[in-house]
Homo-oligomer: 198 residues x 2
Amino acid sequence: MSSPARQRGRRPGDSGTRAAILAAARARFASHGYDRTRIRDVAADAGVDPALVHYFFKTKDGLFAAVMELPFRPAEVLGSEVAQGPDGLGERLVRRILSVWDEPAHRPGLLSMVVSAAGHAGAAAALREFVRREMVGRIATVTRHDDPRLRANLVASQVVGLILARYVLAVEPLASLDADALVPLVAPTLQRYIDGDL
Amino acid sequence: MSSPARQRGRRPGDSGTRAAILAAARARFASHGYDRTRIRDVAADAGVDPALVHYFFKTKDGLFAAVMELPFRPAEVLGSEVAQGPDGLGERLVRRILSVWDEPAHRPGLLSMVVSAAGHAGAAAALREFVRREMVGRIATVTRHDDPRLRANLVASQVVGLILARYVLAVEPLASLDADALVPLVAPTLQRYIDGDL
């Protein structure tokens, strides 16, 4: 497996290839941000064909999720919820977010993302661009308000704060509250931001 | 001023004393957390009389604010708003928070607090205890709901998320929005959490 004589070829199935792509992507996201990082540049830095990057990570947001050690692709999760329209979106979003974060196996990767973003300006900038493009941009497409991006920002503010309070600061009783009890408390906030009612 | 021959006495007015107390407090908060740090232990570590700690920092939350480089004492600010009762508290809280953070001179200290908490387990634990005791504990005294601490947790989640989205992630248009336009968007969320209506 990790024999020192292992071939260094850049082929699917070679775990060294995947690691090389991840290392190149991590450096690019930190130095160029999310928006200005292109799959083809990451491939060139890693010395592989761009098709291999797509083979391992599908899309740029998949590559970013892997660099941040996320157990899922946020854009995919968000996209499937947003596709069902604005009715009940607040509740569906809270439910999906809690189901991902409540899974203990996912926690270390998610926390390392928060820590690296807070402690490293490049990581923070990349995360900001990612949140803006893949999350705020998607939510903005379904709000019924005349300033959809602001509404999506407000949704993001409550989601990020909920994650921090429940999982990072771990204030009680919020940290131990059952997801089924928490969803109806927070969902109306998100729905109000989405719908634009005051 | 900073002459090498400066006296090393521990008296009010000696800036070396204040720095020694701060260094001792920073180490204590990181190793013992907020709750188990006592003014008298910080004084002993710094080799000064406890009265000097009170002279410089008034209270434990004042000492913590100084260690975290905060430009104000959160417990004092919060206490004066909470003392006016629950009616309109959501709006008063958002307004006070924005007025502190919107001041550019305050920004570096506040951001360094976020970064140190995220990157250092001891700092995160101390911040968690501080939020719990001085912030959640105070807000919990005025909510009209039968689970006041949970309600205060939810208030904290939206406040922390708003700070992160507006000042750390700096997503637009939220980051540049005038405080007068932002207050009516977020205040109803806090008021709903305080009042306990769903």
